[in-house]
Structure formats: C-alpha cells, structure tokens
C-alpha cells in the first residue's frame, strides 16, 4: 500500500468519478475505512481527505490552459454540483 511506504502526512486524494455515490464510497473509504466492509480497507481509518477534481476550490488552482485541455469537456458532461455534494461533509467528518 502506498501509504505504508510514504505515510499520510500532507497526503490528499483527488477523485474523478462522475457519480455522487462513487465519490462518496471512495471518500469514506479513504477517510474512515471501507463502509461496505468488503475490501482490505475495512476498519482502516487512513484519515486521508478527498477532493473532486471539479470542485471549485481545486479548479481555481489549475493552470487555465491545462483545465481547458483536460477538464472542460468533462465539466460540461457532468452534473458537477450533484457529484461534489458529498465531499465537504465527509472531509469534515
């Protein structure tokens, strides 16, 4: 596991999923352990905060030309407000 080698200091996850359910499952797993208790991270609270790549506070830090090339189309195709809705409450516990 990456965090076993590198630790969790200054580590964040950036997600790209296009549904609120997928984003929520991944973010909960990285913060407090696998909520389905189905995988190797069941009961393992890594405490890693997750952000979605299309959250405004992340988008604002991306180089504009790279945003246009890599994300602009996805941002149009995705219901961004709905997908990123679970992120903040999961980060804040």
């Amino acid at each position: 596991m990456v965090v076993e080698q590198k630790g969790t200091e200054d580590v964040v996850a950036v997600l790209g999923a296009n549904s609120a359910a997928a984003v929520e499952m991944t973010a909960l797993t990285l913060m407090s352990g696998d909520p389905s208790y189905a995988g190797p991270l069941a009961g393992v609270a890594l405490g890693i905060p997750s952000f979605h790549i299309l959250e405004p506070e992340i988008v604002g830090q991306i180089d504009a030309a790279i945003y246009e090339r890599e994300l602009a189309l996805s941002a149009l195709a995705m219901d961004v407000d709905e997908v990123v809705a679970p992120m903040k409450s999961i980060r804040e516990g």
Binding site: D10, A17, N18
Partner: protein, 42 residues
C-alpha cells in the same frame, strides 16, 4: 486547501475524469503525485 506541496493519490474514473487528466491538473497546481489509477466499473 492548497494543492501546492501536497502529495496526491489520484483516483480517476473512465466515465468521469481519467487519472492522466487529473495528474496533469494537480501537477500544474504544484502537487506531487504518489499514485494514479483510472477505475472502470463497466
């Protein structure tokens, strides 16, 4: 949250934003990428 100086786990998705795209974006913001993977649920 300031991405600059952060160490990032990139978890992309094929039907959303894939990992190489996220990687390019977070690197442009000054983050280091520790791990990058594109998931596919099809």
């Amino acid at each position: 949250m300031d991405l600059k100086g952060k160490r990032v786990l990139v978890i992309g998705e094929r039907d959303g934003v894939n990992a190489p795209a996220i990687e390019a974006c977070v690197k442009s913001a000054g983050a280091e990428v520790l791990y990058a993977e594109t998931l596919c649920f099809v």
